[in-house]
């Protein structure tokens, strides 16, 4: 707490008429870990980009380590000692992991001529520290998402920066890896590195951050230590959209002492919402299942329709799905991977009525398994059947026609197309224009935030809005089996609940949902059946009831046996 290392004063960044950063004055003390929180679209990532020189500020100054670095180029700022990571890691895909580390220019252009021994030693040390040394000689394009995050951090650390800005370092990272990562951060912090972290995971903020700044709508809402910030009423309102709508306070979401009873407490109000749709204001208009074939049913009729939803056909499942207790999508002894890298190693799984959750550490093959089921990644061995028909050799497009839709982790939206066009293309396989229109309206009522942005480009949306869009687009296909690859990754807590709520609605409309989720505790609330994967193999399958002992869960999750 000696002196400020990074200070911004009235920092402003505009995109057209949108003021993404509105006179932000933030002070980061040396040797601290400084958390930045805020709902989606509150300007966190823009702040990072403006501070680190990727955007030119429209006003205000940035001072780093006593020097005015406003308007410097990103590489100059990085070499000055202020480094950053991105929300989406972008390694040099054709280089190996080690080469990626060595490719960092530590001392300007001269360091590119010859790689010194110290640099090699440092790279090896970091690879070992971050526990990605076993993939050091693989091409970075082929490593898992979690490993990419670690590589991204490793590359930054090659610069030996005085201050590191991390954009959602734990998004899409499993708990054990997250804890490891946080340990590394604290170790490095003890050695004198300052960290600024954008983070949605409250536990991370609570665990490691000395100070927290909360952004909302491009401005600083509150600044202080974690305790004072999370008890601040304004912060709750910003996140939860009015405390009255939501029983769960931030403390409960943090779930610090999350044993089984704590998570049941969280579940209680949501379970109520399912049976009493009219009472839950937030969801009354956002009920895709109940509005069904009858068009837009007013909120009063929602509960009635909801009870019938399981057996009736709604517009959102145009295939005519009706629960029959059978698994519709079945994978048997699947083996697949990339190049000569075997990622999924003999896994059998089924989509069941309700939500089928797939858990597992990073790199365990969850995404690849889902992609193999969807036909995006070809199966090397084994077979996939949909309603008894062999679809092993189908491409993803054919599977969407059959009613099997996957939502990729990055959302896969069309950045250059408008929101409207994105949604309409979701209904590409729907030949009946009336059905498409009806679903379009339902999706909009589920995600009212998108309604005002129909004519804006996909890429102009914030991260959370983009995920909403990809979720809505997937719903436009009207599938009977949804394969969701971490739809909640990187979303604000209030939105995570909404995503889980939407997932439940899909189930109520008669669809079977396979869900990959990093946040096991949250996902267990809505899971009807669970698969746990580690190192490409199945470690466990059964109902959530079989998973009551958390120690067992942790062991299974880590593949300790």
């Amino acid at each position: 707490m000696t002196r400020p290392i990074l200070e911004t004063e009235e920092l402003t960044k505009r995109f057209g008429s949108l003021v993404a950063n509105d006179k932000l004055s933030v002070t980061v003390e040396e040797d601290t870990i400084h958390g930045i929180m805020g709902p989606n679209g509150s300007g966190k990532s823009t702040f990072f980009n403006t501070v680190t020189g990727f955007y030119r500020p429209d006003g205000g100054t940035v001072r780093f380590d006593g020097e005015d670095v406003t308007g410097w180029k990103p590489d100059e700022i990085a070499r000055r000692g202020l480094a950053r990571t991105f929300q989406i890691p972008s390694p040099f895909e054709d280089l190996t992991v080690r080469e990626n580390m060595l490719a960092v220019f530590t001392g300007g252009i001269r360091s590119g001529m010859r790689i010194s021994e110290e640099k090699r030693a440092r790279a090896d040390e970091l690879l070992e520290l971050l526990e990605i040394d076993h993939v050091a000689d693989q091409e970075a394009g082929g490593i898992s998402g979690g490993q990419e995050k670690l590589l991204e951090l490793g590359r930054i650390l090659m610069l030996e920066p005085a201050c590191v800005m991390l954009d959602e370092p734990t998004a899409g990272v499993n708990p054990s890896l997250r804890n490891r990562l946080l340990d590394h951060l604290e170790t490095l912090n003890d050695r004198g590195t300052t960290f600024v972290i954008i983070e949605h995971d409250m536990r991370v903020i609570a665990d490691v951050c000395d100070r927290v700044t909360v952004f909302n709508q491009g401005q600083v809402l509150v600044e202080g230590d974690f305790e004072s910030v999370t008890t601040d009423e304004r912060v709750r309102d910003a996140y939860l959209g009015g405390a009255a709508e939501h029983d769960a306070s931030l403390e409960t979401l943090i779930g610090e002492g999350s044993n089984a009873s704590a998570s049941e407490e969280v579940e209680a109000p949501d379970a109520g919402a399912a049976t009493d749709a009219g009472a839950t204001a937030a969801n009354a208009g956002a009920d895709p299942a109940s509005t069904g074939g009858a068009g837009v049913v007013p909120a009063g009729g929602a509960s009635e329709a909801a009870s019938a939803a399981a057996s009736s056909t709604s517009a959102l499942s145009g295939i005519g799905a009706e629960s029959d207790g059978e698994p519709w999508l079945v994978g048997e002894d699947l083996v697949s991977g990339y190049g000569n890298h075997r990622v999924v190693d003999g896994v059998s799984m089924e989509s069941r009525d309700g939500v089928t959750c797939v858990f597992g550490p990073n790199g365990s093959g969850k995404s690849t398994l889902l992609k193999t089921l969807a036909g995006v990644v070809p199966a090397w061995e084994g077979r996939v059947t949909h309603r008894g028909v062999d679809v092993t050799d189908n491409g993803p497009a054919e599977n969407v026609h059959r009613g099997v839709t996957m939502l990729p982790q990055d959302g896969g939206i069309f950045g250059d197309l408008t929101v409207r066009e994105n949604l309409l293309l979701g209904g590409y396989t729907v030949s009946d224009g009336a059905v498409r229109e009806e679903r379009f309206d339902e999706v909009l009522s589920s995600f009212p935030e998108l309604e005002g942005k129909l004519d804006e480009r996909g890429r102009s949306l914030s991260g959370g809005q983009q995920m909403m869009l990809s979720y809505g687009r997937a719903m436009m296909t009207g599938a009977e089996v949804y394969l969701l690859d971490e739809p909640s990754s990187g979303l604000a807590p209030s939105l995570i609940d909404q995503v889980f709520e939407m997932t439940r609605r899909l189930v109520e409309s008669g669809a079977q949902v396979v869900l990959i989720e990093q946040n096991v505790r949250e996902a267990l609330r809505i899971a009807d059946y669970v698969y746990i994967l580690a190192q490409g193999q199945l470690q466990f399958e059964g109902t959530p009831g079989d998973l009551t002992d958390e120690d067992d869960l942790v062991e299974l999750y880590l593949g300790l046996d």
């Binding site: 993803p396 497009a397 896969g412 069309f414 066009e421 590409y428 687009r473 436009m476 296909t477």
Partner: protein
């Protein structure tokens, strides 16, 4: 001479047509373009001819009269429209598939000879042959895509470029083997419209109208139809497209087919106003590449804006700068745009 062949060819004939049909041209004037064109370049000759007339008309004043300026203007717009049409199919394939289609010019040549064969065989007006050429080229395009591009669509871009270059050589050689490399023409005599002293060659006028209709039609197709949106979606995010059930290889085939059909349209209208050889396609293609980059990769209006710019530089450049200086100006403009606005004047995505 390669660089100046193209404008000379089309403008020489336009000039000849314009002059031949002008009733008040002095008896000596028609000889000027006919003899001078080969040596000096058609447009310069044309300009000279009009200059001579203008000078006579205003008694020794050497500046061109408004009429002559208007005449250049008309020629520039007509030529620019043709360039825009040539660039349209090129920019579409480029924007959607990221494939630089070197065979575009060769596809145009196939269309030119298709129009010739169809007209000769049926005795119908070449205007009926143009839709035939468009359909034929669509089929040819799909076949070329399926047989050569599809197997290597995931390969690096230069592989696809080289493959389309191979297709170019095969197509051009095939046309030469069948038809020889002598210039061919339809023997049309469409004549010119005269509007207060300004001549509008009808062949080029029809070509321009067809080009504008093609632009509007293609744009509406891409913006308003589900299939069009699917093409733009695929251009935007190929991975994302498959998750909504778009059959990406099929969209690629369709896109290449449409791009080839647009090449067919461009190739089909060129015989309306100039004679052609198997080498003509390449000469158009060189400037078409400049047009595409100038206007913005994948931008449809950009193709026409770029086409017009090249048309104006070429017509006015050859009138006032002499020789082939205009080619230098074209590439200076090209470099200037790349420096000032590297994404092209109307740069952006395929949907703009």
């Amino acid at each position: 001479m390669l660089s100046s062949f193209l404008p000379d060819a089309c403008c020489r004939e336009a000039a000849a047509v314009a002059l031949a049909s002008a009733p008040d041209v002095p008896a000596s004037a028609p000889d000027v373009p006919a003899s001078a064109a080969d040596a000096l370049g058609g447009l310069a000759a044309l300009a000279g001819a009009f200059d001579a007339l203008g000078t006579q008309a205003v008694l020794g004043v050497s500046l061109p009269s408004p009429t002559i300026f208007a005449q250049y203007f008309v020629f520039a717009v007509l030529l620019g429209g043709i360039y825009g049409l040539v660039a349209l199919g090129l920019t579409m394939i480029f924007g959607v598939m990221d494939v630089i289609n070197f065979a575009h010019g060769a596809l145009m040549v196939v269309a030119m000879y298709a129009v010739l064969v169809f007209s000769d065989a049926t005795g119908l007006s070449p205007f009926f042959a143009i839709p035939f050429a468009v359909l034929l080229l669509f089929v040819v395009g799909v076949l070329i895509y399926r047989s050569t591009i599809a197997p290597i669509i995931d390969a690096p871009q230069e592989n696809q470029l080289i493959v389309t270059f191979g297709v170019l050589l095969i197509l051009i050689s095939a046309v030469e083997m069948v038809f020889g490399s002598d210039p061919q023409q339809l023997g049309l005599d469409l004549g010119s419209l005269e509007i207060s002293g300004v001549f509008v060659p009808q062949g080029q006028l029809y070509a321009l109208v067809i080009a504008l209709v093609a632009l509007a039609g293609t744009w509406l197709f891409l913006q308003r139809t589900m299939l069009g949106r699917a093409i733009r979606g695929t251009a935007d995010n190929r991975d994302g497209a498959q998750y909504v059930g778009i059959d990406v290889p099929r969209i690629d085939a369709l896109t290449f087919g449409i791009g080839a059909a647009l090449a067919g349209l461009a190739g089909g209208v060129i015989p309306l106003f100039q004679s052609f050889t198997p080498a003509l396609g390449d000469q158009y293609l060189i400037n078409a590449f400049v047009v595409v980059v100038l206007g913005g990769l994948g931008s449809f209006p950009g193709a026409f804006v770029g086409g017009l710019i090249i048309g104006f530089i070429q017509v006015f450049g050859s009138a006032y700068l002499g020789g082939s200086t205009y080619q230098i100006v074209i590439f200076l403009a090209f470099i200037l745009v790349l420096l000032v606005k590297p994404e092209g004047l109307l740069g952006g995505s395929a949907d703009e």
